[in-house]
Every structure is written in C-alpha cells, then in structure tokens.
C-alpha cells in the first residue's frame, strides 16, 4: 500500500495530500524539494561568480606574455597591454580626424 503524505501549506494553510505544490495557491510545500532547489540555485550562483572572476582569453594571453621568460616578448607584452597605448591610439585617431576635417 502506498504511503500518504499530508503537507500543510504555510502560505494559505491548506492541507495537501501527496503534493509538492499547494493545490490552492501553488506555493512549494515540499521542504526537501525546496532545499534542493535552493541548493541548486546557490551552486549555480557560485559557478556564475567563479566564471565572472576568471579572466577572459585575451587577458589570459596578455598575462602569459607579460610574464614570459624572453625579456623582449615580456617588454612588448607590457607595452601593448599598457593603457597608454589606448591613449596614444585615441590621440592618433583624433589627429587623423582633425587633419581630415581641416584639410
């Protein structure tokens, strides 16, 4: 004979027979299922946070060449990765743009 489980909904106080969700309000009433869902959600959150913390492929590549054994490659990596390259790039582009507009 199959066992019967009665669960009382904490939201609307309805007594439910062999149900995970309340038949009246639809709330989750199975505590073990509730814990499992929470655990899965928490693990998913942790995995997502870990994924975000990990550097992307470009950053990994630059980190690798910035600490390369060869001093020339190391130096080049540090120059290219420097934010000043971005500034000079923007400056050079603006100079070209101004020159093009003014000409």
């Amino acid at each position: 004979m199959e066992s019967v489980t009665y669960r009382r909904c904490q939201a609307c106080a309805t007594i439910n027979e062999n149900r995970d969700y309340c038949k009246n309000c639809g709330a989750l009433i199975n505590l073990s299922l509730k814990r499992q869902i929470e655990r899965e959600r928490s693990e998913k959150k942790k995995t997502e946070a870990k994924r975000l913390q990990e550097p992307d492929a470009i950053t990994k590549f630059f980190n690798h060449i910035r600490h390369h054994r060869n001093p020339i490659i190391r130096g080049l990596g540090r120059i290219v990765y420097s934010v000043w390259v971005v500034i000079f790039g923007i400056g050079a582009f603006l100079a070209y743009l101004i020159g093009y507009i003014a000409a």
Binding site: Y81, S82, V83, V86, I87, F88, L94, A95, I98, G99
Partner: protein, 135 residues
C-alpha cells in the same frame, strides 16, 4: 592595465560639472570658429589663426581621459605629465612637420607648437588643481 595616478573623490566631484562645462564650451567655441572659417565670415586674425590650436590639446586630452576612465571603470584617474607631453609632441610633429610636407593646406608655425603646449599645460594644471577646503 596600470599606471594611473589617482585623485581624490572630492576632487572629481568638485570638478565634474566645471570640467564638463569647460569641455562643452571649448567644443562649441572651436566648432563655431571652424564654421565661421568655412562660411568665410571675417573674424579677428588671432582667433582665426591661433584659437583652435590652443583649444586642440585640452579637447583631445579630455576625450582621452574620459575614454580611459570609462575603460577602467574608475572616475578618479588623471593623465601623468609624460603622457600629456608625448601626445602634445605627437600633435606638434604631425600638424607642424609632417602634414605641411604632404599637403599645401598646412603650414609650419612655431607659435602653433607653443599653443599646443600651452593648451596641454592648461589641461594638466586644471587636472592637478585641488578644491579649496572650507574652514
């Protein structure tokens, strides 16, 4: 990426609206001068020849600073003097040495170079300024 100098948060907050207003004023002024030149409307000689050269570096450096601050996600950085100097030197060489050689539209003028550096110095001093603390 590294290599920035930090300014205080108070400094940034204090100058945010002043800096923005100045930047907009410079953009409007230089655009107006350019449009007046294009429409061949007579303007004073010193404005026609020198004003845009003076405004050039503060505008360019402001754009660079804004872009880098956006990239870094920090709003308290400022450009070090050597970056400002190198960029100004690049503009001087590009506009006063290279372009006059390849285009008849451009002429070399030492005063323009001085104005580029004057504008860059003004930008540097402005970013270096600290707010006056009230007693």
């Amino acid at each position: 990426m590294a290599g920035f100098k930090e300014t205080s948060g108070v400094h940034t907050a204090y100058f945010s609206w002043v800096g923005r207003a100045l930047f907009l004023a410079m953009i409007v002024l230089s655009s107006s001068i350019y449009l007046l030149q294009q429409c061949e409307i007579p303007i004073p000689k010193w404005v026609n020849n020198y004003m845009n050269d003076f405004l050039c570096m503060p505008i360019v450096l402001s754009i660079c600073l804004v872009v880098v601050r956006k990239l870094q996600g920090r709003h308290t950085h400022r450009l070090p003097w050597w970056v400002i100097f190198c960029l100004t030197l690049y503009f001087s060489l590009y506009f006063e040495y290279y372009l006059p050689q390849v285009s008849i539209r451009y002429t070399s003028d030492i005063i323009d170079v001085l104005l580029y550096f004057a504008g860059a110095l003004l930008f540097f001093l402005f970013t270096m300024l600290k707010p006056i603390k009230k007693e």
